[in-house]
Point group: C3
């Protein structure tokens, strides 16, 4: 069975099982993340107070930790929720938004990676390189690195962390031990909408809530976002722009099905 066939089956499982995806995330793109989980067929819940995260994650099928607008209160919640998820076998997905831009972000990611066992880490090339330890300049939370050695970096970091590593960019790279794939779906217009990275991570979390194959979940989430981005752009007509593109994107994720995936997915 090809990986696109496997992704198609996994999408069906999401729609049947409606996995609950607990998020501790930023306040910029939180609404989009929730709506993406719903569009795919999952059920989102956002809760970040230390007094409730352990209980909430115990109901969840996956936990997404996104450091987009972290603060002292939520950092502790992330660690505590992540540890509890580990105890319960709930997969934890990390989106290290802007790691390297500030010491707070870098130190928080270091602590999270030490204290919590992640199923998937997804970032852009700058973020992943920063975690991998390479020297790379960071400008705010957007990636400026571009690297043909991406596959090697993904493999190295995957081995170091013992989890799936997903790098999103012009070509996306997913690595886990001896498995690697690249995905060439997507369109650069996706970078013109805030939070498409966060949304990809939430889609990965939703898929991860319906399988124990987190490499597949990462490939599924990123293919779904990239392909939806292509289709959303194709639907744009004269006079439309970024606003309509964003709406189309949610339309396309909500309509995603096996046929669309098999026809449009570009995974090597």
């Amino acid at each position: 069975m090809t990986i696109l066939n496997e992704i198609s089956k996994l999408l069906q499982l999401v729609k049947e099982n409606k996995p609950l995806v607990h998020h501790i995330t930023n306040y910029v793109t939180v609404n989009e993340c929730a709506n993406m989980v719903l569009a795919l067929g999952g059920s989102p819940v956002m809760a970040d107070d230390l007094a409730e995260v352990e209980e909430m994650v115990s109901f969840a099928s996956a936990l997404v930790i996104n450091i987009g607008t972290l603060n002292e209160r939520t950092i502790q919640s992330m660690i505590t929720a992540g540890k509890k998820a580990n105890q319960l076998g709930v997969p934890v997905i990390l989106d290290p938004v802007g790691v390297g831009a500030t010491s707070l972000r870098t130190e928080t990611v270091t602590i999270l990676l030490k204290e919590v066992r992640f199923a998937v880490v997804r970032g852009n090339m700058s973020e992943i390189k920063m975690i991998a330890g390479s020297d790379v300049e960071i400008k705010g939370v957007d990636s400026i690195a571009d690297d043909e050695n991406g596959v090697e970096i993904a493999k190295l970091l995957s081995a170091k962390l013992g989890c799936v590593v997903a790098i999103t960019g012009a070509v996306d790279i997913i690595a886990e031990k001896d498995r690697v794939c690249t995905i060439s779906n997507g369109d650069k217009i996706l970078a013109d909408v805030t939070g498409t990275g966060c949304m990809s991570t939430s889609l990965i979390g939703t898929y991860a809530g319906a399988t124990s194959d987190y490499f597949l979940a990462a490939a599924a989430g990123i293919t779904t976002m990239g392909l939806s981005g292509e289709l959303a752009k194709q639907r744009l007509t004269d006079g439309q722009g970024i606003g309509t593109f964003r709406i189309n994107l949610f339309d396309e994720v909500s309509k995603m099905n096996a046929e669309t995936l098999l026809n449009g997915g570009k995974i090597q």
Copy 2:
């Protein structure tokens, strides 16, 4: 005068008086709540710091308390604002999002119901049952309970709390003392967009800012959301999905008028 006639008149009052609706709410759906208040004709204000909530609520025509992403800082603000609203005769609406999912939510709702006198409590069946004291499983913040005895539960809780109780679901139920109505507008696609429950509560708050009949305000808010959902879905064309539906929903609320309400409202 039928209740739909009364709702139509109340909608007109909202547009004339532009009630200011103070929210202490979650960061997931706060933007949607603000835009729903505006779409109906009200004026939203969001303020949650303890140092300003009493002053802010003193300008308001209604206060909406939504516990979607509560934390220690905002819990105290909710209690303080609620008490001040009670002193001033400003109606307070409660959306007990996910009560029962965690102790923090359950305990917060218990304290709120003890310290603050509410005009309306709106929740799904799981949430309302939890408050009413029945045993019911809660999965995250989404309702999994379904109950034909909903009218009885609404009546009992209404009597217990001394306020209007609104239960939203396939059929919505509103109860207050000896008044009960059921509303069969709506479409299941509404559950595929995050925050349609929160938005309903904000619409109730907006209507409650223009009348002292909170039973009518609750019926008006829920009918407006349900009917807008139906109309928003009817406008979907081939190739559209959840993204466009959400936009249509705001369109429909902003266009809602007496004729549409009288033609489409389904209240028994």
Copy 3:
């Protein structure tokens, strides 16, 4: 060169330089602010923890401070980030949302104006009058003042604060020392969407990240928003409302170019 020509050139600079615009802002309209910066061609970053704001602002081309949902934690971050921006020569833009509505907002603005040197202050007439010291009633965060002496007030406050003052309303006024202009773009439907004021401020911040002429940046931001609002409304068809208008607004900002500005801008 006319001011519209200068604005057109500045828009081109934004698209070339992609200025990073650091925001410390409210959780109601933060997503819209981020998407507006992107639509114009800039790069947004939102970070509000005291432990990282100084580092983050050091990467930025502009800092936007918006007090829409301020709290004790973020007030200190605003002051600290603002001071750092001043040291580095990064322009700081203030949106004093709802100043005058509560003591917390009024005192915070007083402290900010004392501690931080702003490049531009943008508000509605009520907010600007409150800062200027006139007596004016405030209802929530929406302006109810209307004043033909707006130009005088803008000039006086500009002289008092030593920065550009922008007042948005039916006619927008921008003043700095001996320069004044009025802008008659816009449509009253803009007031029916939450955060169009905040978005205007973020557009000003984005333009300010690409020039040292902050009067021009303010005129550019407000003209862009007003003209986009007009065009977004023109595209509305029967059956559409506020939801579609909001999407069109993002479309129009993302499509804005020299030709559209020169044809549609109404600056005196």
